[in-house]
Symmetry: C2
Subunit: 525 residues, 2 copies
């Protein structure tokens, strides 16, 4: 029996792995995330299933690869046919409660087609990706009625029909209002006090709710919208870092050159890349981004303190991660999506309170893990059987619950997969592709990263000699064998994705070769 | 504007292409199917998406490959999330009516999870794969309450709680009852008169219904359960053919040998193969199978005569096909499933009444077509826009509506794909495979047929020199380049299957690069 009664699944939005100090970065001190890491296992090779919010999160919530759950980009609805963490918990009489962001787009067409009563609880769950909503707020647009944040702000004197645009992401520039949408303004502090910021608000909501549960077991997804843009930090975090703290901005040897990959070159025409190709922009924006991370870290500290005070550290599984990273000017790029480690490799910390995990506390785990592993990990911790025919990830508890020395090595995956659909992006038009011809698929092994791009040459990086992925060998004639080998891994992956979602493995096994028991006497002389 | 108002989609069950005379076979004269072919186009390279009823039919009904719709074998439910012909017709206020077999297994778990009222019309449609049921009868088990067949039989004097087992597939063997489940008995006639046989009954049901429609447009799926086993034919069809008519039984050079493919060898341990490896069994059963085909042909003639008499030939699109073929002892195998042409290559005739199709009437069309093409063909004929983001097949009307000489060639596919999941079969146990490790995928080009088998070497046939697929080159070192090339085609196919089912191509196109219109000013300086 496990000691786990509660689950706190914390997600950050657009938090770069190398901006977290327990991942070896000197850029931003994150003492509280580091505290979390000391209580659990930090995974060194944790990758998301897509470098963009929507599909990455749908993989976190379904335990399935993007081409399995089908929500290939932001704004693509999650099919009503997909099962999520909330569904699996429901089979055991549990709920997945949400405070914050999911980026779920409801499958309204599917709900209507199936005649599901839009007022029903089932419809509400389907529209929210299986979560029971305490407070949903996706960030980067004004909070809607699913969130109490706008009212919270107005109650604190931020009088406006849209206090988010006017205060949270607003700044005072020499006495005049200016918007944080403009990156030139993000050196200035938000017009809300720190306790009224997005990160503080959602932490308050979560802690009040956890407190109200008393000894009733719970599963909470606390999902922050920061440090995602708009990059406006409240004081004093807006000014915590300075240009001198930043270190170099990474440039690749092929950046913008004719032999750079065509898809990467097309991404350079996106607004954020046009801005960030000027290194001065990166150096202007980074301190705000880093300040938002420092603020987030402070609230992680509040969460830890509160759980300790409530006596919940001993029976709560904590998962801390991010949906993807951020270029922040590295490679002359802005934003995310492409398959570089700045984007698809994320922090992932699992604090497993079970005594069997004591030996791994504070350790760095190098096995390859993926966003799809979070759902099966949570189910495993709560002793809920996973649906092996649907869930493509695997529980991480065999990695947390082992003695570090002397036990048999855990049989594990040797590759990681991530996908991108850039059909919604300007790059599609630049490259004159049809909307269904914009797929990229990454496979990363110990030594190589290979990206298959529909209609273009692949990308290939030799991680052993080029861990920063500066030299794309995808068109280099000397690496044909390595490309073929990685392509074979992609083939095997595609050929074994889970494509039979409506019947369990156990049912298939029990029905194997049993037609005669059912009165069907095929082929008997 | 098309002249098509009605659609008659006729499917046979387990009808081998080379047992139809307009496909060049001398085995069984099928003058009525040949009449149909003279009115339309017969496709020479028509393949099904799986060599077994359930998955093949779900591809016919959804327009999607098996690994897309997920009903990978018989008894695997069709997910409530899948859209079928009936759904697409419904968007235009039309219905797909069913008389006969679909092999749809309802996704009861999905229906329950979504809280869909089991008494609702939507639930009824979902449980029937989108068809409105006039009479559903899947064959090979006694007809249930969805069919009027049992009552029909009892009303005609076949007194029994189960007149199907006692009469339809029963025979009199020297005054004693014997079951047609036993192949040794199939030289004897059914205990029902021919007009009371399965094929006659379902033809009656269909014709009465069509007649009752008057001038109201309709779409009917007339889906026969024959010549599928039990191979009991009514008189006089049971005795129409004799051993002398049969010709040779095909044997392959590797049949049962150590270098035969392991999956094929494992299939030899299935009951039907154990029986049919004795050529005498094949020669005993084939006349009954052929008689069932001759009977079916006669009823196709009744349908054609009735449509002519009702004046419906000029406004009815007719599609005639089979869900897969049958080994009938060839290669020492029985039944179906494996990727030989006896199984996956089927007859497909499309009679398009539109005057633009006049030039192609009676022609043989050699382009590669697939079962997934039927739904888009029907929608095209009825001027209903297809859902391009879901449907993986394409309309065949560009092939029927062209002048045979002088017009530009139609851009078309150059490969065909078919899939098998043998997780339910004895072969899985013989090969000691897990239930999710039993996938085969075929790609057939003009010159080659290649089958990828998870966990085993591939199969490869050089169709140019070995059209009967007698010599499997899958393990022959001289053909590495050909295997690699075919494997590349499979890679490209898997990488481009339609994996974004919840948003249309048009929506993606209209949303491309439009975030600034939505107030999201990413990355602006």
């Amino acid at each position: 029996m496990t000691a786990v009664r509660n689950v706190l699944f914390v997600m950050c939005d657009q938090l770069r792995r190398d901006h977290v100090s327990c991942y070896g970065s000197a850029r931003v001190p994150t003492p509280n995330i580091d505290r979390l890491a000391r209580r659990g296992v930090r995974f060194d090779h944790a990758y998301v299933q897509s470098g963009v919010c929507g599909p990455a999160r749908m993989s976190f919530y379904t335990g399935r690869y993007v081409s399995s759950h089908g929500a290939t980009w932001n704004r693509v609805p999650l099919s009503v046919g997909e099962h999520t963490l909330g569904d699996y918990l429901l089979t055991a009489g549990r709920k997945a409660t949400l405070a914050g962001k999911t980026h779920v787009t409801p499958d309204s067409e599917g709900i209507e087609r199936l005649g599901i009563d839009v007022e029903s609880q089932r419809s509400a769950l389907l529209r929210e990706g299986g979560f029971t909503v305490l407070d949903r707020y996706d960030g980067h647009t004004p909070p809607g009625p699913e969130s109490g944040y706008a009212d919270f702000l107005r109650a604190r004197g931020y009088s406006s029909g849209d206090p988010w645009s006017d205060y949270v992401i607003g700044v005072n520039d020499g006495g005049r209002f200016a918007s944080g949408w403009r990156m030139r303004n993000v050196h200035l502090p938000s017009r809300v006090a720190e306790p009224h910021s997005e990160t503080a608000y959602m932490t308050d909501v979560a802690l009040a709710w956890i407190r109200a549960q008393g000894d009733t077991p719970w599963v909470l997804h606390l999902s922050y919208v920061k440090p995602h843009w708009p990059y406006v930090a409240p004081a004093p975090f807006h000014a915590m870092f300075r240009d001198a703290d930043l270190g170099p901005v990474l440039h690749g040897v092929q950046d913008g050159s004719a032999d750079e990959h065509p898809v990467v070159r097309a991404y350079r025409e996106h607004d954020e890349c046009l801005s960030f190709r000027d290194e001065a922009v990166a150096r202007h924006v980074r301190p705000a981004y880093m300040g938002l991370i420092a603020q987030l870290d402070a609230h992680v500290g509040r969460v830890l303190d509160a759980l300790a005070e409530m006596g919940r550290l001993g029976d709560t599984l904590m998962v801390f991660t991010s949906d993807h990273g951020e270029f922040m000017g590295d490679r002359g790029l802005g934003e995310k999506e492409l398959f570089y480690d700045e984007i698809v490799r994320v922090p992932l910390i699992v604090c497993d309170p079970d005594p069997r995990a004591d030996a791994t506390r504070g350790s760095l785990e190098t096995h390859f893990v993926e966003g799809i592993d979070v759902v099966p990990t949570i189910l495993d911790a709560l002793d809920i059987a996973p649906s092996k025919h649907r869930i493509e990830g695997r529980s991480l508890l065999p990695l947390t619950r082992r003695t570090l020395h002397g036990d048999a090595p855990v049989a594990w995956r040797d590759c990681i997969y991530s996908e991108l659909d850039y059909g919604f992006r300007r790059a599609r038009k630049v490259l004159r592709r049809g909307v269904r011809e914009c797929r990229g698929t990454m496979v990363r092994s110990d030594a190589w990263k290979y990206v298959h791009w529909e209609g273009f040459r692949p990308q290939l990086f030799d991680l052993g000699v080029d861990p920063q992925e500066l030299v794309d060998l995808g068109g280099d004639a000397r690496y044909g064998a390595e490309r073929a080998s990685m392509r074979e891994r992609l083939f095997d992956w595609m050929a074994t994705q889970k494509r039979r979602p409506t019947i369990s493995d156990e049912e298939v096994a029990s029905h194997t070769d049993n037609h005669r028991e059912r009165g069907i006497d095929i082929g008997i002389w």
